[in-house]
Symmetry: C2
Subunit: 219 residues, 2 copies
Amino acid sequence: MSKRKTVGAGEGLPEATEREARPPVEAIRAAAFAQFAERGYPVVTVRDIMKACGLTQGALYNHFKSKDELLHDIIASTQGELERLCQEAVKGAGADPRAQLAAFVRVYVVRHCRLRIEALVANREIGWLDAARVSDIRRSRRAIRDIVVTILTRGVESGVFDPPRVDGKHDLKAIAMALLDQCTHVSMWYGPGGDLAEEQMAKLYTEMVLRVVGARLQD
Amino acid sequence: MSKRKTVGAGEGLPEATEREARPPVEAIRAAAFAQFAERGYPVVTVRDIMKACGLTQGALYNHFKSKDELLHDIIASTQGELERLCQEAVKGAGADPRAQLAAFVRVYVVRHCRLRIEALVANREIGWLDAARVSDIRRSRRAIRDIVVTILTRGVESGVFDPPRVDGKHDLKAIAMALLDQCTHVSMWYGPGGDLAEEQMAKLYTEMVLRVVGARLQD
DNA sequence: TAGCCTCCTGAACGAGCGTTTACCTTGGCC
DNA sequence: GGCCAAGGTAAACGCTCGTTCAGGAGGCTA
């Protein structure tokens, strides 16, 4: 079953819509995604994953070295894509830190709404990876945090941001962590059936973030 | 079981400082706390927990019916205490929604900094409980969220809050979720060795939250 | 001292885990 | 056809899990 030979590996992203046409390795990734998200990595068994895509346990090891590698593959691809999107969003937003921050939050929130399963897995299950595999993902997260810190720093220097101070000093790293926490965890509770659509969520969060950093409304 | 005659049950919290004088059931709770926090419920074994307090695996079942009940015991006590603290904080803050929200955030953040291990366990491991055990904890969380929603609602009605709108309407539940997310997850990254102390964290978060809801500075 | 109660030990149980292995089927190519 | 590589199956491996249970140590009370 699910016998595919033809689908070329070099033509863009796999399409999630046509389930049967997907090569086995993609079906495994997708099934693992869904199950890790719903029940968590340690309690999802290799047998569960493979049964969900109509295969037996042993077949996993034709595509991945281990269950661990499967999880890393999933998280790393999601995380890399997120970092790239964030960088592009900021780069394409001009020089104004307010526009940069707004573009960042919009991309970040929309992605965490739309791909909330992937985000949820990436954020919740990373701890199960061993140290060697986890390091590059942590690096990517620091990179994203540093994007925010950089925007905040420039915004403060140029006077368009006035974020909260503690004992008279800014702690932009703490503020960046808090803002990212807030935006990241939409994936924990956002559902398409809820009151707000993705773009509305993005607008809401953008306004909240701009308020937190004390963005001046206009020059 | 867990029959204690000497340490009075009616005199406050157990003291975490004197480890040896603690009755076994308390030692088990403490060891489980620490290990669940560090490595996660499903990978911490009964043998791990009991070894950490100098006992063998079988002894657990003199104090708890199962590993599951142990986790529920831990989470429920933490959650109940949190709900009580939040209610008291709001009740003791007078009638002004701004003061109520500030008091709420302060208590909530300080607690999530100080008892971050407990908070982390309660928030991350709850999914492992079966449905029957998890329901009262979810109820408590909804209750806490509703405290915030109530404060926001009264603040908006009385004109001291002007939170972000989406398409002209408020979505106070979404905003309450976002604010609680932010405050809850300090427990994921706050460390006593960091740049900010608990009270400074509380001040920072209070100011951020008041900014988000658009609190008027004075009457 | 005898009896009881509390609590712990240490071995055992059955189940389920990730992974390995031997073997089978399929399709393309000479 | 014969061969090969890819990728599947199903059984088995060694291990660890949560839990149970018979038995024993130690401290009360009578």
